[in-house]
Symmetry: C2
Subunit: 341 residues, 2 copies
């Protein structure tokens, strides 16, 4: 068996995350004990939230430690199993990290799940994975768009934002997506079939929102924070709901930037701002995945997968998110599915 | 009949509101038409929200115009009536403004309500008025404190904060009040019977919160915004609720100051921040007033009334709020109740 290639955290980022934060290491693959399986990574999921795991402060997950394999969601294939739940060749989803081989412990590994037969592993980390589910629960449970309401989504061409925005469209809302660049905005209008898109690199977002949302914004699904959040807060409709999903605009800041100056508009508009974490909704993942699959089958959900190649490019693939270079879900292919193991 | 003494808005404040923003005027009292009554102001209510009415921008109420009598809640007594609903001598609550005499139009005047017999007019504008009701609906409907939860209230010695904090205590929560000065903090612990009080003028609020809220903050009732909001956001418990009632710390700012740097903690803690306006709950005022009265009768709600004297001191009385000089409800006595009109 070949060496286990790994990326470990070498240094915590100060401000912008760089390739130098990670170090390459090769070691012998782990050996599964009773009740465990050895899995081989096929795809890594790259997500903005990973930036937060690099900070040395308490959060919803413990920080990745220096010298530890970089944490990351993945789809992997079972190579060898001493667990009755898993057989060689099975595809599994889990937090296997930036490495070729990992140990899967049914019932104990974070987020471990066997993929149902026939599920495309590329979808399993995107539209049918945590990013798609984040769009689903954030929009439906917290945003709760009603037919005819005005919904704005930032990071709208991203893995979560694109699903959130289209689910609002399916609910009958008037949906405006915010993204950076003409290509992403064209995709939002022509493929995701949103009512309009705003290119934040092109001009002031608040002027565009004023034009496109004459009756105010009922639901805002926020992936970016920063000045765009402030612009939206200035144009809320009464009883507006702001879904806080993330704030990529400041993830790489050395000092967190100041927040919006106009939070008190939440009072004047009797509005609500609420954060959520998708893992809290795990009990309803099956229901949500079934619904998303049905929408996919019906051609209602456009989605993009941006696949980079090779474990050696994992840090580069992560950086693409903060450079806004990805459209849709950012994945890294580490190995191909083996049809006979 | 004497002249009608009035304060009109002379100039919009730039930053801090000053006495010079208002001008004194005397004119003939208005003459009630059919369906109207002439009322004489007894007490004026002074409230932080009045600062917002002076700004020339759309809000939940139209701005007070230059030259217009300053808007303000009041208790008044009917002098002359051509309305079947009102008789001379009746006490009424309404938005009569900073003047001796006003016209009450049953069914049309903003917030007009005849006071039930026996209601103390000083309470009618405070604990049984809009400020008390704000504490009631904000805490119970939005904060929803559960027994044993940790609740923090800022502006806790104020008219709204003091009621909100005590209602949380009645619900069985562990309640910490934040106020400025030893006297207010003593009142919070010994009269309002909160578990602890933090004097924000004395030292860093975040250190005090860390000590007093070891399991994090479940509910925060915010009357001030600014750095205290940021300190609370840094110490939220999971599923925390932040009730946005007001933000007096920045009402007098020329430029609104930046918001909290740590809004993304709402995501990590799956927390909610929500604004409200008490008038939206008008349909349930009778129910709420009955409950507050019952708590008052049972000795469960301490409350303070700070009464200044004389219509000529109305601007000074308003300024007291922004100087933090009031403990409890700030009122201005304009005239005494006439027992035989």
């Amino acid at each position: 068996m070949p060496q286990n290639r790994q990326w470990v955290l070498a240094a915590r980022p100060v401000g912008r995350v760089t390739e130098e934060c990670f170090a390459w290491r090769e070691s012998a693959p782990p050996v599964p004990a009773a009740g465990e399986a050895l899995v081989r990574t096929l795809y890594l999921s790259l997500d903005p939230a990973m930036r937060g795991w690099l900070e040395d402060r308490p959060s919803y997950l413990p920080p990745v430690q220096i010298g530890e394999v970089m944490r990351g969601g993945a789809v992997a294939q079972v190579v060898e199993s001493h667990a009755p739940e898993l057989a060689p060749g099975d595809l599994v989803r889990g937090t296997f990290g930036w490495q070729d081989y990992a140990i899967a412990r049914p019932g104990r590994s974070l987020g471990l799940q066997k993929l149902p037969t026939g599920v495309d592993p590329e979808l399993a980390l995107g539209v049918l994975g945590l990013t798609g589910l984040s769009g689903y629960f954030g929009m439906l449970d917290i945003g709760r768009p009603q037919p005819g309401e005005t919904v704005v989504v930032s990071g709208a061409a991203g893995a979560t934002g694109s699903i959130a925005a289209q689910i609002a469209r399916i609910q009958g809302a008037h949906v405006i997506g915010i993204a950076g660049g003409t290509e992403k905005c064209d995709w939002l209008v022509h493929h995701a079939r949103l009512d309009a898109a705003i290119d934040y690199k092109r001009g002031p977002v608040d002027a565009a929102l004023r034009e496109l949302c004459p009756r105010g914004i009922d639901v805002y699904f926020d992936n970016v924070g920063g000045p765009i959040l402030e612009a939206v807060l200035g144009q809320l409709a009464e009883r507006a709901r702001i879904v806080l999903c993330g704030g990529i605009s400041s993830y790489n800041a050395t000092e967190p930037p100041p927040g919006p100056r106009n939070l008190m508009n939440l009072v004047l508009k009797r509005a609500r701002m609420e954060g959520f974490l998708v893992m809290d909704h795990a009990a309803r993942f099956a229901e949500a995945t079934a619904q998303i699959s049905a929408w996919l089958d019906a051609g209602e959900l456009a989605h993009e997968v941006d696949i980079q190649e090779g474990l050696e490019n994992a840090p580069k693939a992560l950086l693409r998110l903060f450079e806004g270079r990805n459209t849709g879900k950012q994945l890294l292919r580490v190995a191909r599915v083996q049809t006979s193991v």
